[in-house]
Each structure stands twice: as C-alpha cells, then as structure tokens.
Symmetry: D2
Subunit: 351 residues, 4 copies
C-alpha cells in the first residue's frame, strides 16, 4: 500500500489510460506525495487495482466521478484526459491554489491559432496561457517553478528537443533543414479500442504514419523558435514500432561550418552535465530504447558520419515515463520545491 499519506496531495483526472496507470506506478514509491483521488466518469466505483492488477496490494483507491470541489482539496491535479478537458477545469483549480499538470496537449502550443488548426477544436483557455510553463525541465525549469499550469510535453517533442537543442542553441547548424525521424512503441497510441493497434495488425510490422503532418511538429517548431529566437524548418516523420514501450528519434542536421565531433560531444556533455535525467553517452555508443524502459532517463548519442557536414543525434526515452508520466512527476517535484528525482529512481528494466 502507499506507505504514507503525507506530502503533496495528488488528484488524477481521467486515470484509466496508460498515462494514468503510469502516474500511479510512479507515485506509488514517491516518499513525499500521496494519491488522494483518481477520477473516471465511466469507471466510477471500480477499484484501480481491478483495472490495473499490477497495482493490487499497492493502492486501495476507487475511481470516482470527477468533482471540482473535491479536486480543490488537492495540492496538484494531473490531467490524463483527452485534449480539451484540462482547459475546461484549470481556471477554477488554479484560482483555488491548486497546481495543474496537463498530460494532454491543451497548453503545449502558445500560438492558439496554430493549436486550433491542429487539434480541431476551439481553445477556451487563452486567459490561462500566461500562467503556463512548458514542462521540459531541462529548458524551462525556472518558468516551471513559477507556473500554475504545466503543459507536459508530447513524447516526440521530449526526445527530439532534448536531442537537438544544444546544437541549435549553439548556433552551429542550419536551421532551415532539420529532419527528425521518430519511432514509437504502440503504447503511445493509448488504450482505445482501435483495429489498427491490434496485436494482430501491428505486430511484426513497421510503418510510418502521419507523414503529411503530425501535431507534434508545430509543438516542436514553436519551442525551437522560442529557445533560439530564429525561424526553423523542421520535417518530422513518426513511425510505429512493434513494441509496447519506447521511443527513438534520429535527428539529422547540417553543420554551418566544420566543427569537430569532439567539440560537439563536449557541447552536449556540458549542456546536460547537471541534469539528472539526461545521459549523453560516450562517443560511439548506441542508445537502445531498452536502456530506459520504465525509467525517466533520456539517453542520447551524437555522431558525425564519415566526418561530413551532417550531424546525427539518436535519442531514446520511455514514451510513457520521460515522455509522459515520469516527466509530469518531475514537474510536480519542481513545482513543490522537492528534490527533482523523488519517486523517479526506477532503474530501466533490461533485459
């Protein structure tokens, strides 16, 4: 059972999907947080341990109907909901002093016109945007500390931004020709009943998808511009890998001028030297998604093939941890002034 009921009081809205169970898994061993309530309209009264038997004996908690007054008794509310839900409840919560961490996309893109185009709905939370921080701690930690609402980044943006930003910030590469080739395990598609995600359909097969446009492209492009102050041209193609968890991104950029592999390697090592959840592997290493499975780490390696003008970065995360629930807990730790690593000490499951 959760070993304490002290510390940060946590509410989770919409916890029946994979990010919900992953939040519960992560918070189960958090020494300074307590999951007080978890809501699901459809699963009202169901024990979380019945829906997720890996939690049998860990949580004695039932799904409840979402109730704004009950949620106001929490210190922080995570939204593991479809897009559009968090923006409808966030104002009332933050006015009550409750922090909001949205694992959906409601607050990820500052340009709401762009957001509305990609998500196909009206954005009702314009007034909230000044209180939002983009929850990529490695680049927005100070803003996160002061924010009321955290836009937890998408999984692809997490792996790709972490991989490319040191080079972009350093001004070493052409910004008009960035290629990011992303690959995700199937848990990224969520738990909805979907023929295309049946094991019989996607096992033992590999494919690209969303080649003509994916919602994570404008999210990444906006943050690249925000951080570097310059325009970028980013081509992004996601792919589906026949595995449950894990995400790998291979990023191709062109050097402006000759910069040695050693200089670039050092640039990355220094950029992330004090980051607990980014591991720049030694030159020549090969990041594999299993090296981060179940953990909050991002591991990456940097190459300059054949000493040419291209730099290639490969970056791996667990899409459900650093790409979702783990990063959300990292953001919670920052919001409440806790050690950023609390609850996030899981060692990756290898093999």
């Amino acid at each position: 059972m959760q070993t304490n009921n002290q510390g940060v009081q946590v509410g989770i809205v919409g916890g029946t999907g994979y990010t919900g169970v992953e939040l519960l898994r992560t918070l189960a061993n958090h020494p300074s947080a307590h999951v007080k309530m978890i809501t699901s309209r459809s699963e009202k009264g169901v024990s979380v341990a019945d829906m997720y038997p890996n939690l049998r004996g860990i949580y004695d908690l039932q799904f409840s109907v979402p109730d704004i007054d009950a949620l106001k008794t929490c210190d922080v509310v995570f939204f593991a909901t479809p897009h559009g839900v968090a923006m409808s409840m966030a104002l009332e919560l933050i006015e009550a002093g409750v922090k909001v961490i949205d694992l959906a996309a409601d607050f990820r893109i500052e340009d709401l016109a762009v957001w509305e185009q990609w998500y196909g709905m009206t954005h009702s939370g314009a007034a909230l945007m000044p209180k939002v921080a983009y929850g990529l701690p490695e680049y927005y930690r100070e803003r996160i500390q002061k924010a009321s609402i955290i836009a937890n980044p998408g999984c692809y943006p997490t792996s790709i931004l972490l991989g490319i930003l040191p080079l972009l910030k350093a001004g070493l590469v052409e910004k008009n020709s960035i290629i990011a080739d992303g690959k995700s395990g199937v848990s990224g598609a969520g738990k909805g009943a979907n023929v295309a995600m049946l094991a019989a359909e996607m096992s033992e097969s590999f494919k690209a998808y969303g080649v003509n446009g994916h919602r994570h492209q404008p999210e990444m492009a906006e943050k690249m511009v925000d951080i570097t102050g310059e325009s970028v041209d980013l081509t992004f193609v996601p792919h589906l890998v026949p595995m449950v968890r894990g995400m790998e991104s291979t990023i191709y950029v062109t050097l402006k001028e000759n910069t040695s592999q050693e200089v670039i390697q050092r640039l990355y090592e220094e950029a992330y030297a004090s980051e607990p959840f980014v591991d720049v592997m030694p030159a020549g290493s090969v990041p594999e998604t299993r090296m981060v499975k179940g953990s909050n780490m991002c591991r990456m390696a940097i190459y300059r093939p054949a000493g040419g003008s291209k730099v290639v970065i490969t970056s791996v995360i667990d899409n459900l941890v650093k790409g979702a629930a783990g990063q959300a807990v990292q953001n919670m730790n920052i919001l409440f002034g806790l050690d950023e690593r609390l609850g996030l000490n899981q060692v990756a499951l290898l093999p």
Copy 2:
C-alpha cells in the same frame, strides 16, 4: 549512484548474465544493502554500466577477478554463475561467516545422486548440504533464517510449487497424476550466444522443449515429497514464449472427492494471507505475466472447470525476479533479519 554504502555488504560472483544485472537493478534501491564487489573473470575491469547501460549513473563499479579473500569481506555472496561454481567456493565462505545465496542449481536437490544424473557432473558439496535451505520463503522461511547457504529455487519450481502446494498439503488431490504445463519468456535461456534463441529464430513462434525430461522436474518432485511426506507423480512440460520476461504455469490436478471451488479458493487465500509476494486473485480472475513484470510478485488464480473433478491453477511470475534475483534478495532479507520486502517494492510495468 547507490545511495548508501551502509548495511549488508554484498558480493556478486559472475554477474554478467541476466540474473546478475537483475540483482544489481534490485539492490540499487535497497535501503539496507550495498553492492561492494561484482566479479567476472572475462570482463575484468569493465564497468558494469558499460555492459548494462541501464545502470549508467547508478553504479560506479567494475567487474573484478573473483578473489576469495576479497569475497570474505562481504556479508553475503550471491552466485550468479554456471552450475558447479558455488559448490566449489561455498565452504570457505561460510567458514568465514559469509552467507551464500546460489542462484544456480548446486544446492537445489538434496538427493545428490539425482542431482548428478540431471546435471551431468560430480557433486562435491555433500558436506555442505546440512547447512542449506531451499530458498522458497513461503514454505522454508524458518530453515532459511538458520541456514548458511540458500539454494535459490528454479523459476519453474517457484511458480509451480507456489501454485500447487496448498492443495497438496491439504491432501485434497490425487498425487499420482499432476500435470504442470509451464511457459517461459526467452530470458530464462540466459545471455549465451545460441542460435536457437536468436530473435529471428524464436520470435513469432511457440514450442515445447525438454518434453522428455527437464532438470526442474526432479527439483519440484523432491520438494513436493518433502512437504507432503508422500510420493508424487509429476509430469512437467516447459514451453518457450516469444517474449523476454515472464513465466506462466498451468497446473492440472484431480480432486480426491468433491470439494467446492469456494473451499479451495479460501484454502489458497488463507495459505498466503500473510505472504507479501503471493497474490491469490479473486475467483474468475486471469493472471497475465505482465501483471508481475519487473516485480517480485507471484499472482495466481484457481479454477474448477465445469465443476468437474479437475482443479486448474494458473500462476505467473517474472522469471528473473521472483524466479531468480528478486527471490534471492528476499532470501537475503530473511537471512539478515531485515523486513522481507526491502528493495522489492517495484510495481510491475504494465503496459
């Protein structure tokens, strides 16, 4: 990094295989144990984090050549070695007051003639056998507390003995016709280069193996006799599942007389009521291996199909955790009078 160097001082002999890395993963978060040394003749000087990149940033430890004097400075030595190694070093260690936990098979079978027949080598440790306990805590906890050497059980025996012993002990079933149909993920075959275990060979395929005889059969049969005091006839067929981790056993027994499903269910629930790592699921549940992936739990369900004379038990474990390294740490905790659950609080990784 390992957060303390206090507590039980641990040595690991032969840590390059899957049980070795799993010991390191489990002990990384153990609050009262410290891995002091890990040995491998072939990998001398290699950092464990280079061999197992999931441990990067967790351990600052190199493989060293096994040295008995150095090992004597430990409180406990785990052997994650091929069969035959532990028996050659155990005497000297226990005479120095060091506890030995063998994850190989050296001490699993008391009848050494049987052992020699199945393992194809001479057993040199007859004198040690009185100091050995079979490390299945749910049935041998008191012996474990007093032992110097722990024979950590095989993975199939763990899942099958836990599944069948309540019925056998209660004398409710025929002992002359027990069928155990076991299924294991491929990590059970170890990390040796073996064509049959290539992904291209065993992915997307399923097979039985060892049908004419498997070493875990005499191990199980002996413990069944030991615990019930009566002879048994056990047929055991293992199978290979195209997945990395996980083991499921489906056990078929015949009732001596009409006993209701409810009575049997209650028998199991009572048998394991105080066991932290055995979960008797409610009637009608379906244990899946993913419900225990990466955790030390054994989950099981009991059925009486069509109300007939057969009882079916299905039991799942993670073969590398409750079936190997996790159970070894549980045994260590017992040996040193620690809370049996220390270091073993990982929630199963689902999905």
Copy 3:
C-alpha cells in the same frame, strides 16, 4: 491478378476478417478455382485490395452486399461470418445446388442443445444437419465427399483432434483423463476492435483464458466420442501467445498399459502416412509453430516422458490456415473431386 476465371466458382460471404483475407490469399494461386464475389454489407463497394493491400495487383474485386440470388450462381459459398449467419442462408443455397463451407461454428456440434448452450442463440438449422459433414478430412473424408454443407472445424479442435485421435482410436489410453493445453496466436481473436487484443495489452505477456469453459471443448469431446464410440473426459485450457499466427497444443494422456514409444510412434506414422497435410515428425523432434506458418500443414511429435505412463503429444498448425481457411479450401477440393492439395502448396515462412 487471378490467373484464370475457370474452375470452381467461389463466393465468400463476410470476407472482411482474417479468415476472409486468408481465403483470398489461398485461392489466389488455386489453379482450378475462381473467386467470383465477396460480400460485406458494411464495406460495400470497397476494393478488397484497399482493405488488404497485400492483395493489390492480385484481385480486382469489390465487396458487394450479400445477395442470395447472386450467390446461387456460385458453385460453393464460404461463410467467413459471425456465428449464426450461415445457418440462415444455407438451405436456400444447397437447394440451388451450391455447396456451403462454414468457417464459423454453426454446424460444428451435432447436439444442438449443447450448441445452443455454448453459443447462446437458438439453432435454426436442425433440418440441415443430415447434410453436414465435419470438415476434418483426415477423419471425415468420405462424409465430406457426399455432404452439402461442411462445418469447418475450430482451430483448437483441428490441432488437438489430429494429435490425439490415433491413440484414442487404438484404445491405448484412458479416456477419462485427457488434458489439452492449447496456445494460440492473437489472430485467432479476429479483427474486431477489442482493448484486450491491443498490441499494448497483449504483447510481451502470456495468459490462460476461458479456463472455466471454452466452446471448443464440447466440439472436441463430441468428435472424440463419435470416432471412438466411448465417453471421454476432456479438460481443455486455451492460452494466448504474443504472436500473430500459430497454434500449439500439448496433450497429456495416460496409457492403459505399458506400450513402447516405438509402437506409439509407428502408430502415428501409419495413421497419417497418406495424409498430405499431417506430418508426424521423427521421435525426439520439437514442433514449432513457425514450421507451419502460412502453410496448411499440421506437424506433431509424440513423447513418453521418462518412460512413464503418460504420453505427451505436441501438435502445431497455423490457426488461420489448417485451422481455418486452408482447411476450408482442402474441403472444397474434396467436395469437387479435385486434388486435395490444389492451392495449398505454400511452404511455411521460416524464419
């Protein structure tokens, strides 16, 4: 493209699922059959090659609304439909001289009271039953030749009946204690949107299911009685394997008296000596599901572990081929007096 439009004119009702596409794959290279129409109410007008891109360039055929008059212009109609559909259309078809091959369960169980109990609907086809043959050619070939309707067997019954019937017919084993432990790839669950069959749910996991009762148990039990003339007690537990195709059954029986492995091996080899699609492997072989992937073969091996009283048979098929569409085509060949092997010469895809 289908290379001829001569030969047996084939209609397929309900061809959008996995047995439908598998029928199309199998018939694509059949030298004496031509798929004339394929129906699906929901997919009317859709090209089969759009739904199943592996058929691009092979078939120039659209799904049409099922029309009984059109179907009567065929020589044979395959039903790849939910249970209950074939029985509603079969009478009119066979009266028009059209042969019916049902890949669903409508005609598999002669005892309609049992059928209704397991399938939860009223059986409207009692009058048809005398014209039905159970489509397991190795045991019912003569009846198939004369039948109007073929009840294509379930996948588990195909693999288990082929595996056990030589021993049962020979009277060598106890009939009151048969255990069949079956394992199926996920394509057996069909193409319906079903959360439990998502890749994220069932990949890298293994479980039993239907332990308290599965529809294939009464089907098998009835045929065992039919063929041996004696009652049987069959316990059957199916399991789900994280792979797309393939089925393995491990069958446990008890010898009445000492019969040598050699005698049993010879019994099997003789039983299937002239069968084109049953392969009794040499003693000591290990059937793997990949040895039959995509082919109509059933391969099996027979063991007598430790020379004891138990005989173990392991039997593998591709659940979609010999367990469904391939066997259906084999039955079609028999019905029309063709070489039974026509269209069924695919070599299993290994690796």
Copy 4:
C-alpha cells in the same frame, strides 16, 4: 516434393543461412527450375528438411561438400555465402557456361578500392567485373540479360534505390542532401550466434546502428551516380526493428523548385507502370512491411509534407525476398529468358 526436375538446373552454395532457406522456399514452386544441389561444408550429409523443417516433404536433398565440377553441371549457381566466396569460384563457373548469382556483396561495388575499404579484404575478381550486372532489374534489366554474374543488391539499397531513383533521374531534387533512414527486421543480421541478436536482447527494443558508416552507403551512392551521372551526398542510418522480416526506408529529399505532389505521384506511377514487383500506392497510402511479408513486392508511397520543399518517400520490402532471395530468382528468370514472375507469385502473409 519439387514437382519437376526439368527446367533450369540450380545449384546453391552455402545454403544454411536465411537466404539459403528462402531460395529453397521460393524455388519449391518454381515451374521451370529444379534445385539440383545445395552445399555446405559444415553440414555435409544433413538433410535440408532436418535443418529447415518447413521444407519437410518438399525437398529430398542433402547438403553436400561444395565441388566445383559438380557445380559446373548446373545452369546457374547461387552463392548464399559470406563475402569473398563467390569471387573465388565465379571465374571457373562462368568459363564453363554457368551463370552466377551472388547474394553476398562481392560484386556489388564497381570501384574495388572502395569495396576493399568497406569489406576489409582484398578483391580478387577485378577481371570479372566486366561480366557483372547489378541485379536491380528495374534499372539494370538489359545488362542483366547479357551478364554472366549478377551482383544481387543489398536489402537497404533495394528499398532505397527503388524509392529515390525516379526523382533523381528526373533531376527534380537536390543531390547534395539526401537522407535515408532505414529500418530492418532482425533476420537481416543472419543466423549466426550473436548475443546482440538474441531475442532477449533485441525484442521490445529499438536502436540505430552503424551510424558512423554502413557498407550499403557506398553501394547506393555509386548506383545513384551511375544512373544519374552526377555526384550525390547521401546520409544513411540503419535501424534494427524488433520483428523478424521486413524493411522500411524513409527517404528525405529537397525539391529544387516547386513541383506538385500530383506531378511527383504521376512520375512514380509511370516509372514503375510495367514493373511486376514495384507498387506505387495511391497518394495518402501508408506502406507497412506486412503488406509485402513473404512476397517479392516493393510497395511505396510519396509525400510532400505540408506542401513544403521536402519530399518524403517510404518504401517497404521483405528483406529476405525482394531484398535477397526473391530478387535473386527474379534475376535468374531474366538471365534465362523466363517470365520474370515465375516462382514469385506468393501473396504477402497478412496478418
């Protein structure tokens, strides 16, 4: 059994690996070819059906010691050997009038200095190069017809060259910035015992490899130059997918000037209109590797994301068929004036 012993008499040298068994699978149903001998020094006398049980009942053939005089009695000899073997035997064979098809890399790169650098051995076949054709029929069919030796292309080159050459030949894209991101199933790594290719190592994980340089890069670059007459700058990164068969390549190029998606789509459709084994899917389609599993097809789709300057091509093949043995048989058909499609009518296995 092979149904005829007429037609082209085939010898296979080194048939114990995956391309060997795939040649046997493909040729089993070839109406105008007969496998006369297959050699393996290490497996001398072993039945191919014992090594590859999917071939039980299909071939009655044993591995023999390679004997040049025996091989001279064949019409064609396939080399499914390690690099370096074919070049040592080819001269004597072609002088005897025997055609040679090398599935290894001996003759793939015309620039032998480059070859020696990448393959780490001396090339002894310079005199043979004038008689070699690169066996990509879609671009070298006329040369193949006249050649004595066929250099069967690598798997990545097949999928990438087919995907990019229409655009390159048309001169529509920048040649100095081509990115090819390739992904291969594990069978591409062959059947050697290799820890990194164990199922326990690579299942449920994804990684790049060979980022700093892969042998298929110079092969592709040379053919791009050969066909377009201009220099190219190609960055190629291969990845390993946790599946057995299949290869997907995502290719990124930059348009020189605005060219509409429709024009590019038409260009591809026309380029391959008469090719039996290249399928340009309709705009908006998503090629998946399972759409070609077990078949000789290459399927591709062309995109212009967000109407920008980049064109993305995704191309899928079965690495063992169109990427190896199937293409080799296609080349054999061309060499002997047969219908190019003979023996290659397998429909992809989906699901």
